[in-house]
């Protein structure tokens, strides 16, 4: 028989080998490492039990990073979801030039977080940037956006929203276009106005998309945002934009606190697992909306 018994295993081998080597093996390693004290060059190891975790949670900087991450993600995700939904409504109309608007609105999606960060760093530049110029013309004051405590985080959030918004718009737009005409027509007969249609009919229908977007935006906010933060503020000023992933990067690659960073990886891993679990527990059920 040519469709041999072993064919499926051979077909799966490349994928499984790569995933085992570069996802599972590092994950297990990270878990093991987090229970040891390791010298900076990795040549000495002492079993330390939960010491690394205890140290981490006794460290105020780590709690700060957790707090900043939560503020950053919650704010970004809420704005991105609401604005994304509203803008998708606009794009769902057949008006003049809608294709051009769509193209322009989607563009930030294809560039990297790094480039997004570079563009905003320039616009927020206190001397050459345009934001401060316009601000000072209106209010008479100018702000040192990237070097002042509350403003640095605000800047990073604004830039992130700008960068992440198109992703949500794309999915909401696809969702809106898949809602059947008959539902909309019957709501028109029932006398629902635009606002009611938007929130009481379409939004519940699209709730699986909202759920998916919340999860994806949390993931992006947790990890991909590293680029935007590294370019714009490098975690500063005074650690006010140091998120969990940025702290992990600093501890691992600047301060060479290997075992502490391993524990941080495990915590991020656990947070991600919980989010993933929630997604499949509550999200999957609601996906069948058609």
């Amino acid at each position: 028989m040519k469709w041999g018994k072993y064919t499926p295993y051979l077909l799966l081998a490349p994928t499984l080998i790569i995933i085992a080597l570069f996802i599972y093996w590092p994950a297990i390693n990270s878990f093991l490492m987090s229970f040891y004290k390791i010298s900076p060059f990795g040549n000495k190891k002492i079993y330390a039990g939960l010491d690394n975790y205890i140290k981490l949670f006794e460290n105020e900087a780590y709690w700060d990073a957790l707090k900043i991450t939560i503020i950053y993600i919650v704010t970004t995700v809420i704005i991105v979801i609401i604005l994304g939904y509203l803008i998708a409504q606009l794009l769902d109309n057949k008006v003049f030039g809608v294709r051009i608007y769509r193209t322009l609105i989607f563009v930030p999606y294809v560039i990297s977080f790094t480039i997004g960060g570079a563009l905003w760093t320039f616009m927020l530049n206190p001397v050459a940037g345009h934001v401060n110029y316009i601000l000072s013309r209106i209010t008479g004051e100018s702000i040192n956006w990237l070097n002042q405590v509350p403003y640095a985080l605000i800047s990073v959030i604004v830039a992130s929203v700008w960068k992440m918004l198109p992703f949500s718009i794309i999915f909401y737009l696809a969702g809106l276009q898949s809602i059947s005409e008959s539902i909309i027509e019957s709501s028109l007969i029932d006398g629902a106005n635009v606002w009611q249609r938007m929130w009481k009919i379409k939004f519940p229908i699209l709730s699986p998309i909202t759920f998916y977007l919340v999860i994806m935006n949390i993931t992006n906010g947790m990890f991909e945002s590293f680029g935007i933060i590294d370019i714009m503020t490098r975690g500063g000023p005074l650690g006010s934009t140091t998120t969990l992933i940025y702290k992990l990067y600093q501890d691992a690659f600047f301060f060479q606190k290997t075992s502490l960073a391993a524990a941080e990886s495990v915590i991020l891993f656990i947070i991600m697992s919980i989010i993933t679990f929630l997604y499949f527990r509550f999200g999957e059920k609601r996906v069948h909306y058609q």
């Binding site: 570079a118 700008w162 992933i245 996906v287």
Partner: protein, 279 residues
Amino acid sequence: MRKSTREKVNYVFVEIGLIIESFFMFLPFILAISMSFMEPTEVFSYPPKFFPSSINFKNYITAIQLVPMGRMLFNSLLVASFTTLGKLITGTLAAYAFSSFQFKGKNILFSTLFVTLFLPAETVMILPLFMLMSNLGWVNTYWALIIPFTASATNTFLFRQHFMTIPRSLEDAAKIDGASAMQYFFKVLVPLSGPIIAGAAIINFVYAWNMYLWPLIVTMQDDMRTVQVGVKMMISGESSNNWGVIMAGTLLVALPTLIIFFLLQDLFVKSLVNSGLKE
């Protein structure tokens, strides 16, 4: 049929809303393009200028020379192409196994893959992955930039979903004709999946091109860096005040993904949505 006043008002409202929104989304690009043509004195003039007084490409030339941009563009192109190719090969093969075969351990292997779906490997595993690379002697090599990313659950599931829509009768016919499993794969499945594979290729390429954290830590020599790291080097480099040059360099880095998007917008958006919304 005549439009009611109410509809006309809505129409105008939508049109204005869209103009404002696209203006805000695209404004940073307009300013960057404009800045990339300005002389340093113009960049820092007050009040700030919105348009350059002349068009010259001096900043672009300086940007290419400032960091080894040519080499970095080559690196990124190489890395993004090979990771994409790898993902397409491993993904289609694995998807074929899951869609056409019944075998022992299928469910377990499927779950094994499934678990990785929402784990951004290059970030959560970054430290142990880096240690693995240094043990393998792969730091500062293309291997480190390519190999760990040549398989992904997302691609596998996307292809699997598509393969399952291909009628079973085609497979039976191929078997009756005496085609081998691989002949069926190459002559039937892959050709019938053209648009899906092309769409996945675009998304994977853009993703790989835009990767930042991993290339940042796994490469130390300038000639192994990728363009995204180049952006950081330009900003923190010596000419950190010459925004004309930095914006020129930034635009060069963004250009390939922008071109892909402008040329293949519909395919791009469709594939993105398909790969995101799984059954």
